[in-house]
């Protein structure tokens, strides 16, 4: 235990000595002050502590949509863009040197020549690297918690879920960083490999989402066209039964285009299927970076009748008795996709990502343990 605490303390001292740590902390505070500067009055939204004002008949102080907008800004913009992208890149730049400098000649001997096991040293050092993000996000979420309480009276402890979720998200990348750092002992290579991996997961996820969306779109089209074709075939049969040649020919004429479209839609589903299998298979073994962050949205929107997406798309302002719009294939696919996303179990998202992390860490630890320095 003494050794574990010592390694964690060394990590803390190392982070404290990093200029970037202080810079990111400063930027975090700046972002949270910006977040806190958004407020609501009786007539709409105020920005920069009242310097700017946007009038709104729906979003004003005390309205449920104010809460949706404010928490939506936090989860969709501040967490998604700042914490999950900008701050994470800065964190990677800062922590990429942890393993290479630890393994540099003259430094590693001083640590490995102790009675502490190599595996313990590796794991605690790894956790020490995650401290960077954990501390940054902790400070950030405390600020966000008070800002939300002050601005929309939302004292929601779910905001603090950002700490484990962002740390978890970062750990998926940091395990690759650790592996590359141990393999190459180069800070630059470790950073580049991690960024490459991150962008690859982004690419795979985007490709899979696009393929799924198109597949769902084609499936919706097939379903719609099958109904249409069925109805038209019924019309043809009825006309034939009536012995009305003109009506039969007319119905047959109207059947041609939907049948062609149906064949094309079925062909589309069939063409996408192998790609979907491959990309889906690759995605299945890569960590779910975006979905892990997405769990925060779920938590923050759990009791809300309206989502930020509905607010921004205008759906939130439709009257309940207004008849639902006819959805086209794209919209049906989007809805289905969103529903599927919502139904994915958090345990599955975190579990499979953690399995990936454990495997990568296992490889990194095995190399670290067996290597001569």
């Amino acid at each position: 235990m003494t050794a574990i605490l010592a390694i964690l303390r060394e990590s803390w001292l190392s982070l404290r000595a990093e200029k970037l740590f202080k810079v990111v902390m400063g930027l975090n505070i700046l972002v949270i002050v910006g977040f806190a500067s958004i407020g609501f009055d009786k007539t709409g939204v105020t920005i920069f502590f009242g310097l700017s004002h946007i009038e709104s008949e729906f979003v004003f102080a005390g309205s449920p949509l104010a809460r949706t907008l404010y928490m939506g800004i936090y989860s969709a913009f501040i967490v998604n863009i700042w914490l999950a992208w900008a701050a994470s890149i800065l964190a990677l730049v800062s922590t990429s040197s942890i393993f290479p400098s630890f393994l540099s000649q003259g430094a590693v001997e001083l640590v490995l020549s102790r009675p502490t096991r190599r595996s313990t040293i590796f794991l605690v050092k790894y956790c020490g690297g995650l401290l960077f993000v954990m501390l940054q996000v902790s400070v950030f979420t405390v600020g966000a918690f008070f800002a939300a309480g002050w601005r929309v009276g939302e004292w929601d402890p779910a905001i603090f879920l950002a700490i484990p979720l962002i740390t978890l998200f970062y750990s998926y990348l940091f395990c690759i960083n650790a592996l590359a750092g141990i393999l190459t002992r180069s800070t630059l290579v470790a950073l580049l490999v991690t960024l490459l991996f991150w962008f690859s997961t982004f690419g795979i996820r985007t490709a899979d989402d696009i393929l799924t969306r198109f597949t769902l779109m084609f499936e919706a089209r097939v379903e719609r066209l099958e109904k249409q074709v069925g109805n038209l075939q019924l019309e043809v049969k009825t006309a034939e039964a009536d012995g009305d040649d003109v009506a039969t020919k007319d119905a047959e004429h109207w059947l041609i285009e939907p049948e062609d479209d149906l064949a094309l839609a079925k062909q589309g589903v069939a063409q996408l299927a192998p790609w979907k299998t491959v990309i889906g298979g690759v995605r299945a073994i890569t960590p779910e970076t975006a979905r892990t962050i997405g769990l925060l949205h779920r938590a923050l929107e759990r009791d809300s009748d309206t989502t930020l997406q509905q607010l921004l798309s205008g759906d939130a302002f439709r009257d309940d008795d207004e008849s639902p719009r006819d959805l086209n294939d794209e919209q049906i696919a989007d809805q289905e996709l969103a529903k599927r996303e919502e139904n994915i179990s958090p345990w599955l998202i975190i579990g499979k990502s953690l399995i990936f992390e454990v495997v990568i860490l296992g490889i990194a630890m095995m190399i670290f343990r067996r290597r001569d320095y």
């Binding site: 190392s14 540099s104 020549s113 009675p115 001569d372």
Partner: protein
């Protein structure tokens, strides 16, 4: 190779001979491909034994953002020391290496010599029975070197066993009780300095006045002064000659014991191993010994 307790054992060898590799193996930094041996009664590689071993690596690097005190806390804790013990020993060891006034300063600001002293302090921190020092005087000024030599004698007097790995033979000569010369990963010579140099020891007599010649010895004449060199380690061997010089009216000017230096011994070991140029494969490949 055996290192007796309470001795200063010097490990010599050319670059790439395997000296540092051996020390790293003992400290579990390197996994041996083939090894049999014990350290402090336990098989080499037994991690808990390392609590009783202090190690100063060659070209060691402390985290530059730490103060001397923080660095020692860190390494002491890794060796399993509790905080009260660390507090006490940090003060003692920094005092011992002459760095007590620098305890609150960042290691990154230290000169090479100062870092070496802090390195010695971390090796001594957990009160080890055995010390493995790889180039302990590397980068240290002459005064510092002398202080380190004195420190090693002091540590030996406390009963600690010390294994020193160094290139600077002149320094080792004055401190080592036992030594081994390693060439290409094998021990070429091993023993006490006395034993290893005994066969090469001789005495040189110089006198003035008596014109004596001996058929067995080559007498050199330098003006009024005559010199003769007598092989043998014992001073008793010189007494008959001294008596004869005096009996014949000669004046003894000097009786000097000529010993083989550590450098001579080192070169002899290389010759024995067939590596007089000191180029081991590792050195050719750029590896450090």
């Amino acid at each position: 190779m055996t290192v007796d307790p309470g001795q200063i054992f010097c490990l010599l060898g050319p670059n790439g001979a395997g000296k540092s590799t051996l020390v790293k193996i003992l400290m579990t930094v390197i996994h041996p491909s083939q090894l049999s041996g014990t350290m402090l009664g336990q098989p080499v590689g037994h991690k808990p034994t390392l609590r009783q071993v202090g190690y100063l690596p060659e070209h060691h690097r402390f985290p530059p953002f730490m103060t001397a005190e923080q660095a020692l806390h860190f390494y002491g804790a890794l060796s399993g020391m509790r905080r009260p013990a660390r507090l006490r020993r940090i003060a003692e060891t920094l005092e011992l290496v002459g760095m007590a006034d620098w305890r609150k300063h960042k290691v990154g600001t230290f000169s090479k010599g100062m870092q070496q002293r802090v390195g010695l302090a971390q090796a001594l921190l957990h009160d080890p029975k055995l010390l493995l020092l790889d180039e302990p005087t590397d980068g240290v000024d002459p005064v510092g070197r002398r202080e380190i030599r004195d420190l090693l004698h002091h540590l030996r007097s406390e009963g600690r066993t010390i294994l020193v790995n160094s290139h600077i033979l002149a320094e080792l000569e004055s401190i080592c009780d036992q030594l081994a010369v390693v060439v290409k990963g094998k021990v070429a010579l091993e023993g006490t300095f006395e034993d290893l140099t005994a066969s090469r020891r001789r005495w040189e007599l110089s006198w003035r006045g008596a014109e004596i010649t001996w058929p067995d010895y080559d007498v050199q004449i330098d003006g009024e002064i005559r010199r003769v060199t007598l092989p043998g380690a014992s001073p008793e061997d010189t007494q008959p000659l001294i008596d004869r010089i005096r009996n014949e009216g000669g004046v003894i000017m000097s009786v000097t014991e000529i010993r083989e230096s550590l450098e001579d011994l080192f070169m002899r070991a290389l010759e024995l191993a067939g590596d007089a140029h000191g180029h081991a494969p590792g050195a050719v490949q750029g590896k450090k010994s």
